[in-house]
Symmetry: C2
């Protein structure tokens, strides 16, 4: 490979001075049903970004988000907000983006590997909009939170006349503590369940298991954290219902997470606790760079690198052959990452 | 994925109390030419491990290597040596391993992606032996060194009667400083060139460029470090000559690296220098987890994880959108990672 062989599948982004009303292409601002979902989803994620950032700044009590707006000449763009070295959070990123792109066959696999053995490989135009956030606190007893809600459409395949465009929703919210406080994890999962149950009583058990499966670090035989909910390629339901569900999930981030942070942010800790948190952040890096679909998809399609990798912690650590002492608090966390538990 | 879907292509390793004379299968200890190369290569890498570890301990003046020996019931095994938190090195790993395995199609691509469009996918038994080392110093002015020399053989394909087994050599030695001292980089590259020139005057220019190409972090548009030499899939030469070449390369690690460490290990530094070193170590992690063939091959085939990931630094850092000031020392390093230079 060389610089010249770096062929991004989407255009290079350009910094923008101001936030546009919409990142959609003009042609998508008409009233066809598909465009309507695109526009409503963009509005939802931008409102969620505002409300989550406001809540994080209020809870941090010191740090402020830095905002970067960018767009692409052919349509699409995004708003990245990062709070670094705050009072409570070491690094907190909340991004929204709208992407018009061409999927290379391998990135298409990364975005949608299942149920598609029948799709012929070949570049496929796609639309993607999403909100993505990772919040890494400083205190080792305060957990990391990740959430991401996204809407995807591919164009109708040109070589299959009459075939429809595909659409699907994906997303999830999951918790990654370095130490377990049962009441925290139960509260977190209960909020996910309550949100799911408003729409479909199958959702929580199904998406909880999907989350445990998805965040599996195969080479370690353990999960990144203690899960939550995760779903992808979701289209076997009414589109309006799924849009409402994704909206409700995004709106439940604050009540699921902030009460835990308030309880743990000032807990005294030692170097041992900090080192363990740093080791678990190393695992976070391993998962995101090796397995995470959004990350690998973004790296392959030439997305905005700083936005994609804002999910990585400010600092991480790898010790050779570290083994927590059996029965210790660290061992308890690791055990729960190896053998997922039912929390509600 | 779940625990049960974790299907390593090689058996689980077992800790061993003592180092065996050889990790080869008994059947490979006879005198056929192929086995002879296997045995001679194993002897070479084990001697190189001893001499490099002795030189590192002497230069460190405090830290000692911890040794782990492991083997697999069906043959093969390895010796991992790690020095952690020494006086000079933060983390230094020097591993040798001998692996008998079955290549899954995707790992086969990771191990040998070129010139093999014609090889039918399907599990292929292979033999691999190698020495692999990453040495991360504490001082931000003292560079990280990586070297790896390996010998590969696949079995003759069963479904193509008369087709021979394949063999090839791979490897390289490369330098990753956080700050450039011209005399250091020139010395390092001069040693590589002198070593190469003893065998073939084409080797240094060809392997220097190969190294610049290989350690390219595509999503960043920059290289991991300042290169050295790299080659892979090398078999278009006499096998004995390539074995002698790999041996000479391994033996040149100490004279190429230790004089640089002696000059830089005690250089005074500030928090700014340390933070930049940590950011560059973040890039090191990105390259190894996303692109490095040995790492991705090892993770996919179910290799010994702690040995594979000993290459990761003890600590690393990711700041959002960090840009070194134009004209600064940090900018100079980044420029050399983006635009490779000729050092000799």
């Amino acid at each position: 490979p060389s610089s010249s062989s770096h062929s991004p599948m989407i255009e290079k982004e350009i910094p923008a001075a101001e936030k546009p009303r919409t990142f959609l292409r003009e042609v998508d601002e008409n009233t066809s049903n598909s465009s309507d979902v695109r526009a409503r989803f963009e509005k939802m994620i931008r409102e969620a970004q505002d409300s989550v950032c406001a809540a994080i700044e209020a809870a941090d009590g010191g740090g402020k988000f830095k905002e970067d707006v960018w767009s692409r000449p052919g349509g699409g763009g995004g708003i990245s907000r990062v709070l670094q070295d705050g009072a409570v959070w070491e690094k907190a990123g909340v991004n929204v983006s709208v992407v018009y792109g061409i999927m290379p066959p391998d990135a298409y696999r990364a975005a949608k590997p299942t149920e598609n053995g029948d799709v012929k490989p070949g570049p496929i135009p796609f639309f993607a909009a999403g909100i993505s956030s990772v919040l890494h606190p400083k205190n080792p007893f305060a957990p990391t939170l990740h959430f991401n809600y996204r809407y995807f459409e591919t164009d109708a395949p040109k070589d299959v006349p009459g075939a429809p465009r595909q659409w699907w929703f994906g997303g999830g919210t999951d918790l990654t503590p370095a130490y377990i406080f049962d009441e925290d994890v139960k509260h977190f999962h209960q909020v996910q369940k309550t949100t799911c149950d408003k729409f479909n009583s199958d959702f929580y058990p199904r998406f909880k298991k999907w989350c445990d499966d998805y965040f599996y670090i195969k080479h370690r035989g353990e999960r990144r954290g203690l899960g939550g909910i995760f779903f992808d390629d979701l289209n076997a339901y009414d589109q309006d219902m799924l849009l409402a569900f994704a909206t409700e999930c995004a709106n439940s981030v604050i009540p699921a997470y902030i009460p835990i942070i308030e309880r743990r942010k000032d807990t005294p800790f030692t170097e041992r606790h900090k080192a363990w948190q740093q080791l678990r952040r190393g695992r976070y890096v391993e998962f995101n760079l090796v397995y995470d679909r959004g990350t690998t998809f973004g790296l392959k399609t030439g997305g905005r690198i700083e936005s994609i990798l804002v999910s990585l912690p400010l600092t991480a650590r790898w010790e050779y052959d570290h083994q927590p002492e059996e029965g210790s608090e660290e061992w308890n966390l690791l055990d729960a990452c190896i053998n997922p538990r039912e929390w509600v």
